[in-house]
């Protein structure tokens, strides 16, 4: 009985977001413009219902009233040797992440009703927020890696579009594309893991990860780790995160403070039955976490704006969570995710009021608050501190590294393209273009 209720409650928690998204899209297509209040109420109600139901699921699983459940809604597609099932795995970590998603997105939705009031992108923001929630729901409780990947992709698209939310300025748009480039690069790892899992076990079920071993298990574990690096802003893929702060503060709060950045360690938690026996990969996870924590802590200290500073602080904590997972402390890692997500959401939402908060604090204290973070000065010699400051200011030259790699990688293709255009002009019987003039395609009529 309780098991059935848990399943129903989980479905009840998953369904509101996609339903609200469908209503919003159809409503906008039909009415062209929906009142802000109506959109806000739609999102508020759907998040509220989901929070209540997911809380019930967490309580039931946490108190041992129910155990891990698999909800199989049947096949989406079934061919010989392939099946895609709409199945959800409801266990305690998944239920907690589902609850956290809806709680924080609901709070941010409520915050945004005022923050984005009369903004031209008001409806666009809520549409992307709902798409984000759908993506995270699939990641939280998807029973198969293919469903998890579907959510992962949705998350990436929604993230990129929200970073570029203020699309009239080139910088946010450029940064959105930059973040998406990192996501797509590392998503290759997850795709590879999905393919290899299917070949080894003829299923995409996450439960099958525990049965893997040997070289196949090692490669899949490494591929999943690589796939998780992008969204977690793990070194060397850190540079996109502070740039992502160009988006609206509410999206910065939930995406890069709270949820999207924690999808990375959550994926590792989901894959831990496989990682547990892959010592080499766990060592790599720990080292990457350590490098990320050190890098982000150092760079964060040189930031001149509060959102970038908080962004790097988030990455520092994600690095620490990766270390916890590498050490096998999965429960600690999950608690760390929850606590950090809530704290960082609050901090990022308060960021626009930073100066006001500081003045209030000074008034209450009667003096300036004490300076903190001087541990480096006690431990490190001056020369080393200056060198560290210099490279931290340049964000460890990761941007230059990426841009240089991209330039070198695309150079042969630019040459190929010039050859192709020359060949096409020859076939067309057109005169050869001079090197100083742009090709005809690039000129406006």
């Amino acid at each position: 009985m309780i098991a059935n209720l848990v399943q129903l409650a989980t479905l009840g928690a998953i369904l509101p977001a996609p339903s609200a998204l469908l209503i919003l899209v159809v409503g906008l297509a039909v009415a062209r413009r929906l009142p802000e209040r109506r959109v806000h109420l739609l999102v508020a109600w759907s998040m509220s219902i989901a929070v209540v139901l997911s809380s019930a699921v967490v309580v039931a699983l946490g108190l041992g009233l129910a155990s891990t459940e698999v909800i199989d809604l049947g096949p989406v597609l079934h061919l010989r040797g392939y099946h895609l099932d709409l199945a959800f795995r409801v266990d305690l970590p998944g239920a907690i992440f589902l609850w956290l998603t809806h709680l924080l997105c609901g709070l941010v939705g409520a915050f945004s009703a005022q923050y984005l009031h009369q903004d031209e992108g008001y409806h666009r923001f809520y549409g992307l927020l709902l798409a984000f929630v759908v993506g995270l729901s699939l990641i939280s409780v998807g029973a198969g890696l293919d469903l998890v990947f579907a959510g992962w992709e949705l998350l990436g698209i929604a993230s990129a579009l929200l970073i570029g939310f203020f699309h009239r300025r080139p910088a946010p748009v450029h940064n959105g594309l930059r973040a998406y480039a990192v996501y797509r690069t590392t998503d290759v790892g997850i795709v590879l893991a999905l393919v290899l899992l299917h070949r080894a076990t003829h299923t995409a079920s996450l439960d099958a990860l525990a049965t893997l071993g040997g070289t196949t298990g090692l490669i899949i574990a490494a591929a999943l780790t690589f796939g998780a690096m992008g969204k977690g802003a793990i070194v060397p893929f850190t540079a996109w995160l502070p740039r992502a702060m160009e988006g609206p503060t509410p999206s910065s709060a939930i995406f890069y403070g709270a949820l999207s950045v924690h999808a990375s360690p959550f994926l590792l938690l989901r894959a831990f039955p496989l990682l547990e026996d892959q010592i080499e990969v766990r060592v790599a996870v720990g080292l990457l976490g350590l490098a990320t924590a050190f890098h982000a802590n150092a760079v964060g200290r040189t930031q001149a704006d509060v959102k970038s500073s908080l962004g790097y602080a988030s990455v520092t904590q994600v690095g620490v969570i990766w270390i916890e997972i590498a050490l096998g402390a999965t429960t600690l890692a999950l608690l760390h995710i929850v606590g950090h997500a809530i704290l960082r959401t609050w901090q990022l939402l308060r960021a626009p009021s930073l100066l006001h908060d500081r003045h209030t604090l000074m008034q209450d204290l009667g003096r300036a608050p004490p300076e903190r973070g001087r541990a480096y000065e006690w431990v490190l010699p001056l020369g080393f501190r200056r060198w560290l400051y210099r490279i931290a200011l340049e964000r460890w030259y990761l941007d230059e590294l990426h841009e240089g790699a991209l330039r070198r990688a695309t150079a042969p293709f630019r040459q190929l393209d010039r050859l192709d255009q020359r060949w096409a002009r020859f076939l067309d019987g057109a005169p050869a273009a001079s090197s100083s003039s742009p090709p005809p395609e690039a000129q406006h009529p």
């Binding site: 061919l79 949705l154 699309h167 998406y180 393209d417 192709d420 395609e441 690039a442 009529p445």
Partner: protein, 450 residues
Amino acid sequence: MIPLLALALALGAPLLGAVVTTRVSGPERRWAALIFLVCSLAGTGVAAAIVLAGPPISWGQGVAEVRLGALAGTLTPPIVLAGIVLILTATRRETTPQLLSGILTVIGMSLLALLVSHPAAVLAAEAAAAAATAGLMIREERRATAIYLTGSTAAFLAAAAGALAHAGPVTGLPDWVVGFALLAALLRLGVFPLSTGLFAAARSRVDTVALVAILPLGGVVTLATVVAPTVELGRVLHPVTAVLLVGAVGAAALALVQSTLRRSIAALLGALYALIALGVLDPSPTAVIGGEVLWAGVLLAATGLGATTALVEARFGALDLREYQGLHTVVPGFSGAFLALGISLTGAPGTVDFIATDVLLTSATVSDTLGMAAIAATLALVGLNVLRLQFRVFHGAARPPDASLAPKPRERLALGLVVSAVLLGGLAPTLLPLASPASTPPTTHASVLP
């Protein structure tokens, strides 16, 4: 009787329309062409429903055999829908008798290639479609594309002659026939490095004529029904697969370095066509289904994306990707359609291409891990390029709104149809005969596909 009538309607309507539209004058010409295509769509819809419900049906024998199977049931509606979208979105100046007749001929011949069984008949139909497309290119003075399409036509005809002379099962076709068929198909599709014709089609402008050459209306059927059953796995397929993998990654990378929207779209599609070819040539029947469903999804999304690009360029001229164009505030409808169709090309969840790429990736057997990584890298690059195009074209400093540039009702209808089709295929994939449990799946690699 009903299946035969449905097929007659599906096939006869565009071919009859190709003749009738040359005799209609004025704006009624567009609507006449549309009526014929809508009748054809009805016929293909009925045929698809018949295939969904039961086994394949065939009539006739030998060269004249016509077969209604899962492949035809799945692909004929998208091909006709592509034709409808092209005609709806063509500008008034473009709706000449020659263009409309050309489009209807290409659609009709593409349908014929899907419905006939004998390799010679398939190759001859493909040759006719390629020739009709080449004719359009010659008329529009797009020589480079015309040369490639003429080459493709010649290769199709040579292969057809060889297949006609061969008296035996398709699996026994001589190597040179299969070689010409493979070459013809890759030239028609524009798979890198044979892609100059594809890229050059959009060189001067992306318009309806360019789209007829760019869209994958031909080539895949030859790969699926003539090349795949005959090519030897070890001796030929692996080298071909290697070329296609390199072609896929190469075209996707080429798309990223383009500075114009038109060439970037062409290169992006070229990468996806290489993936389609990889799928239909795979020994695994399930991967073949993935490749064929990917063909249907890419055809629909590419038609919509290409039509959106053509409509935007018709209003704003050639778009330089080195600057942000800021068109979102001027034409928000096109921005939304471009985004929806673009991300569906990348296999976004909820679209038919997500299902297709998932099936293809997890079922393909001909490629090793490195090959799978190349396919994943191609999809990653395609996705990145789509968003780059979206941002460069529609984002940036806003231009003043202009109501005269808003999509016309027929353009809205066209884009709405194709977006709906893409989403329907993704959310209810069992409606596709190829993916339906009731339809007969391809049996083995070395047999004729349904």
